[in-house]
């Protein structure tokens, strides 16, 4: 009897607390949560997915990529006009567009934004030396002069870092960052900003379709468990998946299948791969690289590590960017791997020792490394010995170009939606000596692999467009796949989950969620 009374009091207390504590949520704004915080809302500085997500709601870019990776004009009034020599791009701009400070959007704003980014942009290396100058022949027309033909124009024209900002408002900040404010032309205006919480309201003078909601509150939690718990306990409406644990992804995936949440997926754009140092023994030997590639059971790794949620990939270009979806890298075949190793005098009492470095602060990396190690122990124990070494990611990045790592687990997401955004950073090289890259991108990716043929194909691809260009890029991948400087493992997508009272999150082709399409459907 006494126990029953205590239990009843406890239940009454919990119910009381559930209904009385804290102020009631009266706002009809949607709460969107993700990990971490936003340090800066300046497009010239923003480099985290979260900041880019928010800026893309506060501003418009010249063009947007749809889920098929095609250009859709936003602040441009039509498709870009490219000169025959591919050194000049003419873009006509939309009229009657106003910044959040009330000033008009025009070609000066584009020039101001591009010049400012070139001058102070933290990530201004994405422009490289591509842009020579910007001309403003009329109020609603800009000409972008290039130093050399560039095949990655889509990336430039859709880059969130180049979101036009109000020259009037940013006058004092043309040479420095403005972290806590943003004045663009987007569907939302920023109403409050702190590193942890940001609030945006619909922009009443927006030139296009108005948002389907009354605004968004953006919140950052510092760990994956909090995000997961907040969605489950309905304290947030939408959860963006960046850096949430795989087990929690799986759980949310299952709950979505049971209709407890809505799940939205971006195109698969994040590539995980192993970089092999091709410049020195043992992995300077192609047969050994091939044997390693054939010993990697991607399906098993995907199932064991990501519960099958990440897609095994035998290509370094995401499927959305390839028309034929061809997979060129070697398939898993441990018998063939054994044959290759035997050919190189391994297996018969001679074990190939491969140190594999993984990023200790990326949980999936360690699991991939362990799974591969165990798989090799079960099928190629007498041939290969994988020695694991966990190193913190910033250390890995710093040491990559020093050639410290024989094999290292990495990932890559292209800065823009184009195969070139994956091929160039991994394969291009400025100085090749005896097939070894001495200077260039492949040094910074840790492979030190270089091919003169690949370099000439890169040059040729910049002078052409369309299917022909794509064919050249596929040819580059074919050469790489036969030389194996990298072993692709899987390709992942961004995910977002919403409560059932909110519409399903929709991603665009750049992996950005369309916040304005989130709608309260059942209050």
């Amino acid at each position: 009897m006494k126990k029953k009374i205590v239990l009843s009091i406890f239940i009454i207390l919990i119910s009381f607390l559930q209904n009385s504590c804290g102020s009631k949520r009266i706002s009809k704004k949607i709460i969107v949560a993700s990990s971490g915080k936003i340090e800066s809302l300046d497009p010239a500085r923003a480099n985290t997915l979260k900041a880019i997500q928010l800026i893309s709601s506060l501003g418009d870019t010249l063009y947007e990529l749809n889920s098929n990776g095609e250009l859709i004009p936003e602040l441009a009034s039509g498709m870009p006009i490219i000169s025959k020599d591919r050194l000049q791009i003419i873009i006509n701009l939309r009229k009657n567009v106003f910044f959040h400070d009330g000033t008009a959007f025009n070609s000066n704003a584009i020039k101001f934004t591009f010049d400012r980014f070139k001058r102070i942009g933290t990530m201004n290396y994405i422009l490289g030396n591509k842009i020579k100058s910007i001309e403003t022949p009329s109020e609603y027309s800009v000409i972008i002069n290039l130093n050399k033909p560039s095949s990655s124009l889509n990336g430039l024209l859709t880059s969130v870092n180049l979101t036009p900002i109000s020259p009037t408002f940013y006058k004092q900040y043309s040479d420095k960052f403005l972290n806590e404010k943003f004045v663009g032309t987007g569907k939302y205006v920023l109403t409050s900003f702190s590193n942890e919480v940001q609030s945006i309201d619909p922009y009443l003078n927006y030139w296009g379709e108005k948002p389907l909601n009354n605004g968004i509150n953006f919140v950052g939690y510092s760990n994956s468990s909090s995000l997961f718990g907040a969605l489950k306990s309905k304290q947030i409406d939408v959860l963006l998946s960046n850096s949430i644990d795989d087990s929690q992804r799986k759980s949310l995936n299952d709950l979505s299948k049971n209709k407890q949440f809505n799940e939205g997926n971006s195109p698969f754009t994040e590539l995980s791969f192993i970089s092999l140092k091709t410049s020195s023994y043992p992995l300077s030997n192609l047969n050994l690289r091939l044997a390693l590639a054939k010993s990697l059971n991607r399906k098993l790794i995907s199932e064991k590590v990501s519960y099958g949620l990440r897609k095994p990939s035998r290509s370094i270009i995401p499927p959305i960017l390839k028309k034929d979806n061809q997979e060129l890298w070697p398939k898993y075949d441990y018998l063939e791997a054994r044959r290759l190793l035997q050919k190189e005098n391994y297996c018969n009492g001679n074990i190939l020792k491969i140190p594999l470095t993984y990023r200790s602060n990326v949980p999936a990396d360690k699991l991939i490394a362990l799974t591969w190690q165990e798989e090799i122990k079960s099928s190629l124990k007498d041939c290969i010995d994988i020695e694991l070494d966990g190193v913190e990611s910033t250390t890995v990045y710093k040491n990559l170009s020093l050639g410290i790592y024989t094999a290292v687990l990495l990932d890559w997401t292209g800065a823009y939606s184009d195969p070139e955004a994956y091929l160039t950073p991994l394969l291009s090289c400025n100085e090749i000596v005896d097939g070894i890259c001495k200077k260039g991108e492949s040094v910074y990716s840790g492979s030190f692999w270089g091919s003169n043929k690949v370099e000439s194909l890169f040059l040729e691809s910049e002078k052409i467009s369309g299917i022909k260009r794509l064919e050249k890029l596929v040819e580059i991948e074919k050469i790489a796949a036969s030389s194996i400087p990298y072993i692709p493992i899987w390709i992942s997508s961004q995910k977002a989950w919403s409560q059932n009272k909110i519409s399903k999150p929709i991603f665009n082709g750049a992996g950005i969620i369309s916040l304005s399409d989130l709608e309260l459907i059942n209050e």
């Binding site: 509150n217 939690y221 718990g229 489950k232 910033t394 800065a415 991108e441």
Partner: protein, 340 residues
């Protein structure tokens, strides 16, 4: 009395004179350790996709290409002027970041100590009063258990239970997302009172409750155990027996003689705990997304933000050293047995 005060003053001055040496050692160690540690702030800022030219440019801009000795001397010189520099990742003055995040940690620390006292003292007293009984054993087990529970696990368990399962507490943060928080001193509870905002007060206490009570609960074991042990020892001492013989009431003996003496070691423990919490309860702040100084430090370390890490460590060292000094002087003042 004045001789004693003079002695105490000398003792305090001696302690204070050691502070700059301690801080110099700490700041030099922080400088060396950060430079020795692998990793590069440039990589953390630019990501892995930047080319060498951009990396070099940023390195020069941040002064990281300067000889180490030059970096060290300019660092020490700046510290002497209380200039901790600018955060490498945000370009915001480090002192501003510290000033913005310190109140959150101090507020959490204060309420945690309060909770620890409110939980620990009664537990210690109940145990002592019911010596050898079931309640005593429960209080002892509880006290020991709170030592044994790893703070991160306790925090996660509390979050899972009260925020997710019962849904009676916010999952994290300091204030409701949809409310405008009062901004006067940075201490939200105090700010709510100063601005006469009952709703804000309720909201800030609501957010503070779970992390502070959980942390307080985990700290309560130290308080309950030390109170019990010290009080037990004091109650068995000769002067208490003498007081009983003189016919003084038990209540008076307890309140006027035994308790003040038993509390002396607890003042030291409270001071040291408060000092360690002033630097933030790292795992608690991370688990509860509490925007305090420890969470900032955690982020700064992962971003290799040298100046911010240095600034936070030195500032919190100053705070801890000052609090320790205060406790030392207080104990010396309160306890006539201490020689100085």
């Amino acid at each position: 009395m004045s001789r004693n005060l003079n002695k105490l003053l000398n003792y305090s001055l001696l302690k204070i004179s050691l502070i700059p040496i301690m801080l110099w050692i700490i700041s030099s160690l922080v400088f060396i350790l950060l430079r020795v540690a692998p990793g590069d702030p440039v990589d953390a800022i630019l990501g892995s996709g930047a080319d060498e030219v951009s990396r070099e440019f940023l390195r020069n801009k941040l002064g990281l290409n300067e000889p180490l000795i030059n970096q060290y001397f300019s660092y020490i010189k700046n510290i002497l002027h209380l200039d901790f520099g600018q955060s490498l990742s945000t370009q915001e003055p480090v002192l501003n970041i510290i000033i913005k995040s310190l109140p959150a940690s101090l507020e959490l620390g204060f309420f945690s100590i309060l909770s620890a006292t409110l939980i620990g003292f009664p537990l210690g007293l109940i145990g002592l009063r019911n010596r050898g009984k079931k309640t005593d054993y429960i209080a002892r087990i509880l006290g020991i258990a709170t030592y044994a529970i790893p703070p991160f696990w306790g925090a996660m368990l509390a979050q899972l239970l009260f925020s997710v399962f019962f849904n009676i507490s916010p999952i994290g943060g300091r204030f409701p997302i949809f409310q405008q928080q009062p901004q006067i001193t940075g201490f939200l509870v105090l700010d709510s009172i100063l601005s006469n905002n009952i709703i804000a007060l309720k909201d800030s206490l609501y957010h503070l409750a779970l992390p502070s009570i959980t942390l307080g609960f985990l700290l309560s074991g130290i308080f309950s155990r030390s109170l019990r042990v010290n009080l037990d020892k004091t109650l068995k001492s000769d002067y208490v027996n003498a007081a009983i013989c003189r016919g003084i009431s038990r209540k008076k003996i307890f309140l006027n003689h035994a308790l003040p003496n038993a509390l002396l070691p607890i003042v030291t423990i409270s001071g040291l705990t408060m000092a360690s919490l002033a630097g933030g309860a790292l795992l608690f702040e991370v688990t509860f997304s509490w925007p305090g100084i420890a969470l900032r430090l955690h982020e700064a370390i992962s971003q290799r933000d040298y100046t911010l890490v240095q600034g936070i460590v030195i500032f919190t060292s100053m705070l801890i050293v000052s609090l320790n000094l205060f406790v030392d002087i207080l104990i010396a003042y309160l306890d006539p047995r201490i020689e100085y």
